[in-house]
């Protein structure tokens, strides 16, 4: 009893934060989504009007398309890249801790203003990237003003921040028993074959975890696109989170923005549920069969 009270005391700060900063706004947003609240005037109850309007709103639907595209492009690339780097960093090499730290740094920097400036500098018309590809005779790419270029810029930024997935993969790779590789080697298995037949199956729970986490993050992405490309040409990089922000704080349609938030939340939950439903087919837990 005493221990449980102490435990409760320890998690109290988190619990308070969760209740005040997450649960309250979460419920409040649902209430506001049924109103015409605009930050300045008293809200009026308008029923499902915001939700009905959302599904007729071409801009909202286009942001959903952009968000899905962004998620499809970033998540697989980021996971594959993170796994590839983790695999390399799992070898016993000289100075390996330095490399592990170096590869994690981009994730610490994230989508902040300094990184946004750097990214704009790299991809601008006469920036480093265009000069580099110019060395091979290629014409400069209008990264920010072309639909595909703008999307590529923010996808690169997200994929570059692979550090946290990489660390989780690294921990998982270390848990794979070496005896399995040795036995496979004795049977004539190549390193490539062992990777796909031993490593991948054994780390599927970690792949699944990273997949869910990164998918949820990608659907919620805001900082990078907002700071680097903005809406992009023809709203190419106008993600739903940015649309929510604009409606809330630029056009003061707080009720409408709250409704859009809830729709996005439901979409994320639905995709997460689908992923969970598929895991029986490809995720192997070591405690299964116990």
């Amino acid at each position: 009893m005493k221990h449980s009270k102490i435990g409760l005391l320890y998690i109290l700060p988190w619990l308070a934060g969760m209740l005040v900063l997450t649960l309250y706004p979460f419920v409040n947003a649902l209430v506001i989504s049924f109103t015409d609240y605009n930050l300045v005037r008293e809200p009026n109850f308008i029923g499902f009007e915001n939700y009905v309007t959302l599904f007729k709103d071409a801009d909202f639907l286009s942001t959903l398309t952009a968000t899905v595209k962004y998620t499809i492009f970033t998540v697989p690339f980021q996971l594959a890249f993170a796994l590839f780097i983790a695999y390399i960093l799992n070898f016993k090499l000289k100075g390996i801790n330095f490399y592990r730290t170096a590869y994690y740094i981009p994730s610490l920097l994230g989508g902040n203003v300094a990184v946004a400036v750097l990214w704009r500098f790299l991809f601008q018309q006469e920036g480093f990237i265009n000069r580099f590809i110019g060395l091979f005779g290629a014409a400069p790419i209008p990264w920010f003003s072309s639909v595909n270029g703008a999307m590529a810029v923010i996808v690169f930024l997200k994929v570059w921040q692979f550090g946290s997935s990489m660390l989780i993969f690294l921990a998982a790779l270390k848990d794979v028993p070496q005896e399995l590789y040795e036995a496979a080697s004795v049977d004539g298995s190549t390193r490539f074959y062992s990777f796909f037949r031993i490593t991948i199956p054994l780390i599927t729970p970690t792949i699944f975890f990273n997949l869910v986490m990164q998918m949820v993050n990608a659907f919620q992405e805001f900082n990078g696109p907002y700071l680097v490309t903005g809406r992009g040409p023809l709203n190419a990089t106008y993600l739903t989170s940015m649309y929510i922000y604009d409606n809330a704080f630029k056009y003061f349609n707080m009720g409408y923005a709250s409704a859009a938030s809830w729709v996005l939340f439901i979409i994320i939950m639905a995709v997460t549920a689908v992923l969970f439903a598929t895991q029986n087919r490809w995720v192997f837990y070591s405690d299964e069969g116990n």
Partner: protein
């Protein structure tokens, strides 16, 4: 489902929930939380905060004025500056205002007066401090811009006039000795510029809307909205504006939307610190006079000279001028615990000879007679700044409606011009989309403010 799977599901749900927490917290009512930052009275010292936006030159000048004020009022009043850039002005203001964390002394964009104080009670009633702030330094007619329902809510700083400011040195380097006066002359000048740099443009405007309204005012002789807030332009007007701008963008007179997105971004922002403007890739701007000192300074740092160009007039113009609005305004928070001290600070930066000298011309043309006299005596109204004063006094203008800067309007112009320029819609479709979006928002605002 194993415990591990259940835990994973809960984690995913919590993560997804956090999106709503990040994006949509808000108070149910407009009542600000009292006593947050609105002027703390600690130990006899009235602590005040002052928020403003601008470029570096404005930040430095304002901070110097704050420091001088604090030194002169040591032990009585202490002002802390809260500067910001030009981005997300309205979002920041709205959030702080609604959250009750607005500064004691606020810089307020003119259209926000109607929005936040439709009943004249959104800000502190400045008539209560007329023994501290000297309103006699202002033209009474001009001060009416700051009134709402008979209450003095904000102090307008000066008049902002839309004009064309050109990098005279870049024109000279292109072999053009005399600045263009008509759009045909601009087209010819653009040919000379693009020979040297095919990506150069003569005039960049923070938004297509400025150029469109400039054109439509001259064409129709009317502002975008009438005094009763109703719309003055038709769908056909918008179509003409789209075609006119596109023609000039194709000729590299006005910056194309594509080039703007590539080199500036999506949002309407000040061009003063843009690399392409500084390097002469944009040879001029269509902007408010309020930003002219910043534009001139960034060019002079590089050895180039900025000049005010004669206002180009379209063929068959009914009105040969431009648009104007009160430049930024100042308000005291209605929740400030020290409105008298706040008024004292406003008196210092807006009317006091020393304060106005330190503030300089970084906010554009001043309306206060005392401030103008102080700046003239200090030799600060010279060169392009003096030209801007002369331009402001002489230009024929139509004043913007208070609803002009509603973000929905600007977005309608930009989004639909962009679609048109990128070939995603015809001029007719784009004009209809602009007209419909503006009509819809206008109807809401008319209903709201009638």
């Amino acid at each position: 489902m194993g415990l591990r799977k259940k835990t994973g599901m809960v984690c995913a749900a919590a993560l997804a929930v956090s999106l709503l927490a990040a994006g949509c917290s808000g108070s149910k009512t407009a009542e600000p939380v009292k006593g947050d930052t609105a002027g703390k009275d600690t130990g006899g010292v009235a602590e005040l905060t002052f928020s403003w936006w601008g470029n570096d030159d404005r930040h430095q000048a304002t901070q110097k004025a704050i420091d001088a004020f604090n030194t002169a009022h040591e032990g009585k009043i202490k002002v802390t500056g809260e500067p910001s850039g030009f981005g997300n002005l309205e979002e920041t203001f709205a959030t702080r205002y609604a959250g009750g964390t607005a500064a004691d002394i606020m810089t307020v964009n003119y259209p926000w007066l109607l929005q936040y104080s439709p009943d004249g009670a959104g800000f502190y009633d400045l008539d209560q401090v007329n023994d501290t702030f000297d309103f006699s330094q202002y033209d009474p007619e001009f001060l009416k811009f700051g009134e709402r329902k008979g209450k003095m809510q904000v102090i307008p700083y000066g008049q902002n006039t839309l004009g064309v400011y050109l990098n005279k040195s870049a024109f000279e380097r292109a072999g053009i000795k005399e600045l263009p006066k008509t759009f045909d002359e601009y087209k010819k000048a653009a040919e000379a510029f693009t020979k040297a740099d095919p990506n150069s443009y003569l005039i960049v405007s923070p938004t297509f809307r400025f150029a469109a309204i400039y054109y439509l005012q001259q064409k129709t002789g009317k502002g975008e909205f009438a005094d009763d807030l109703s719309m003055n332009y038709t769908q056909e007007d918008y179509k003409e504006a789209l075609l006119w701008y596109k023609d000039l963008a194709d000729a590299h007179v006005f910056c194309s939307r594509k080039d703007y997105i590539e080199n500036v971004g999506n949002e309407p922002v000040s061009i003063a610190q843009n690399a392409k403007f500084i390097n002469g890739g944009y040879a001029g701007v269509l902007e408010w006079t309020g930003g002219i000192a910043s534009n001139a300074k960034t060019l002079s740092d590089k050895g180039d000279e900025l000049a005010i160009a004669p206002l180009p007039v379209i063929e068959g113009a009914k009105f040969e001028g431009t648009m104007a609005k009160p430049s930024l305004t100042f308000a005291i928070s209605k929740d400030s615990k020290n409105p008298k001290a706040a008024a004292e600070f406003l008196q210092y930066i807006l009317n006091d000879p020393e304060g106005t000298k330190l503030m300089g011309s970084t906010r554009g043309m001043v309306a206060s007679k005392a401030a103008k006299a102080s700046l003239e005596a200090d030799g600060q109204i010279t060169g392009v700044v003096k030209d801007a004063y002369d331009f402001t006094e002489n230009a024929k203008v139509i004043n913007n409606s208070p609803i002009f800067e509603n973000a929905t309007f600007t977005n309608a112009y930009e989004k639909n011009y962009e679609k048109f320029e990128f070939g995603q819609s015809t001029a007719d479709e784009a004009a209809k989309a602009i007209f419909d979006a503006i009509s819809e928002e206008n109807a809401k605002l008319v209903q709201q403010y009638k």
